[in-house]
Symmetry: C2
Subunit: 388 residues, 2 copies
């Protein structure tokens, strides 16, 4: 197998968990580092001066190298655009359009080819910004046919597909819709999905409905995730902890009991600050969670309604500006914790045996992702050992 040595790395973020434990820092940084890739994987990590020989050499020019970002929450399968709704929201003026339902109508009307090319464009946009693993949800089909095809489209781009038939009730009786989601829709969706998710919020699905849906999903072999406590306090986060879900997403409105439940269950709180930026809502308090011993991940929530950013670098900058995270914590949350939130141990770190998914920054350290907000600092993204 061909070996490639990336050398002259000014700062290498490994996310080595042993480094975090023995006080060498959360990111397991190695300075003046090199990274040996063998095929698609990392074979060796260390100081450049100690590096083994390799078939080819790449000079990183003193730049920082990080694990590729793991974006564990996105809604990329949709058609249409809600820029006018966004502009109205920012101006504080009423806007009559139907929110998610606008996107559902446009998505149903789109061809498979249109949906595929739209997802391809967004995934490519994400890669240029350093994202090498992305979770993609359905949820703008909301019919048996349209949910299944949304997932089939998503599956072309990632293994991390999530069935979100329970996004909103599209029309009719909520109880009948839950029956549809847990019955024929789940049957059609399950072959294309790894995960099942529910929007557990006032106006969407309550905790009892969410429990029913997640149990049906589990019986069909899908692992559970939840949208919860985004818009107000509620039972969603405690349900996630009760069910032992790997992650619960949003977590903007948390009681002390919610925080304790997350700490005790080990469920990861995935925070999505692009949403608060784009809706002018208060940001979740990452500092409170971290100080309580809760694991925190960051993801984009890229979607056409509440947050149409695909930029993990922006999420990192917002997490530092608005949520009390240090740059190191924010980078860790968007890489190592993102991988954990998808229960993946092959990505999210640059250590021997992990996949060689990495980002070369046009900057000497990871701090620049927060210090230089908005600047496209991702010089190059590598996935599975190859530059994109």
């Amino acid at each position: 197998m061909t070996t490639t040595l990336i050398t002259n790395i000014g700062e290498l973020v490994t996310n080595d968990p042993e480094a975090a434990e023995d006080g060498r820092g959360l990111l397991g940084v190695v300075e003046q580092a090199a990274l040996l890739l063998e095929g698609a994987h990392v074979a060796w990590v260390g100081r450049a001066a100690d590096a083994p020989a390799a078939d080819q050499l790449v000079d990183a020019g003193g730049r920082a190298v990080l694990p590729g970002f793991v974006d564990s929450h996105s809604h990329l399968v949709f058609a249409g655009d809600r820029a006018a709704e966004f502009a109205a929201r920012m101006a504080g003026t009423p806007y009559a359009a139907g929110g998610i339902r606008t996107t559902v109508a446009a998505t149903r009307a789109a061809t498979d080819e249109q949906l595929t090319s739209h997802v391809a464009r967004l995934v490519e946009e994400m890669r240029r910004q350093g994202t090498t693993t992305v979770e993609i949800k359905s949820g703008y089909g909301l019919s048996v046919h349209d949910e299944a095809r949304s997932l089939a489209v998503a599956r072309q781009f990632t293994d991390e597909t999530t069935f979100l038939g329970a996004h909103v009730v599209p029309e009719g009786d909520p109880g009948e819709y839950v029956d549809l989601v847990t019955g024929p829709m789940l049957d059609a969706a399950k072959e294309h999905a790894r995960w099942i998710d529910v929007f557990c919020e006032r106006g969407a699905f309550d905790a009892d409905q969410a429990r029913t849906i997640l149990r049906a999903g589990a019986a069909a072999g899908l692992r559970g995730r939840l949208h919860a406590n985004q818009l107000t306090y509620g039972e969603g986060v405690r349900l996630a902890a009760e069910l032992g879900l790997v992650a619960v997403d949003h977590c903007t409105y948390l009681s002390d009991e919610d925080v304790a439940a997350l700490r005790d269950s080990g469920t990861i709180a995935t925070l999505l600050p692009g949403v608060e930026f784009s809706t002018r809502q208060p940001y979740p308090d990452a500092r409170r969670l971290l100080d309580a011993g809760v694991r925190v991940a960051l993801a984009s929530d890229c979607n056409p309604g509440s947050c149409f950013t695909s930029s993990i670098p922006l999420c990192i900058a917002l997490a530092v500006r608005e949520m009390g995270m240090t740059p190191a914590e924010a980078v860790h949350a968007a890489t190592y914790r993102g991988a954990e939130a998808l229960d993946r141990d092959d990505v999210g770190a640059l250590l021997p045996g992990r996949r060689a998914d990495l980002v070369v920054l046009d900057a000497p350290t990871h701090v620049h992702l927060a210090y230089r907000p908005g600047v496209p600092l991702v010089r190059q993204t590598w996935a599975a050992g190859r530059p994109l």
Copy 2:
């Protein structure tokens, strides 16, 4: 002269002031538009269906085309990096380093070649983000030799160079330093500068010192600008209005009298939201200024201490999220008003006779600059009729 027709423009932002006056909107938008370039200038603007013939055709693919951004406030001539100071500030921990003085020491120690290559890199980074005109200040030399050479370096990249010897008092007696700035330093700087600027703020220079420095600059043929009311209320904004300056920058803390003075004098308030993002200070209230009839420009203030972003798209998104501007007002402020803030009538709009400086967005409308924060949406930047 070769003519180029850029056609199939989904939304063309012209910034035609007549459109703003007759109710067609602030941005003078033309949909399904085309733009004829003749050499370095715009020769014709209109509906694609009415476009004249041209030597060559460029298909914009339905994308939005905007005037290039005019960044009227930056501090690009420096050496060193203050990422550690930024991280400490975000963590709320004390940091012993010397702020601006750290950068002054690094700048004085750098060679001309190092300073030039550093500015070149940042200007190139700005261009990739759509900035086609940039003002660059000195202010990290603070000696006769280092201020003059900082401006000579800046002059290689822009005509809009600003002598900011009065950034802080580097050492010694403030009165003696004002004598130096208005005497030998101004003599050495004036041949390389168009503008003179003063940081009028508690801890820097008071209004009397600022008046003295700006008058000396005027006598030497330099036009005045001011940094004022960034950190607290003060006399700087009223001084700018009294002196009839074209623009006064920051304007975070404004009394009603300050707002009235800006309205009556016509002095432009240039807001720099990247600073508030990066220092966690309250944002200036653009809405209040606009509602009072004050002209508002947006600029980056790119500098290594308080704001190391070069991203006008981020400034636009922040202006919408945090300062009450509409996307159209924010785009106008970063183009047309930016040009006005530099007293330039050859850039900032896409109208016959203006310079063909433009941005092609990977988006159908200008709204996406706020709707899709952090995403590198600038597909291509053209300067003086040529793609970069």
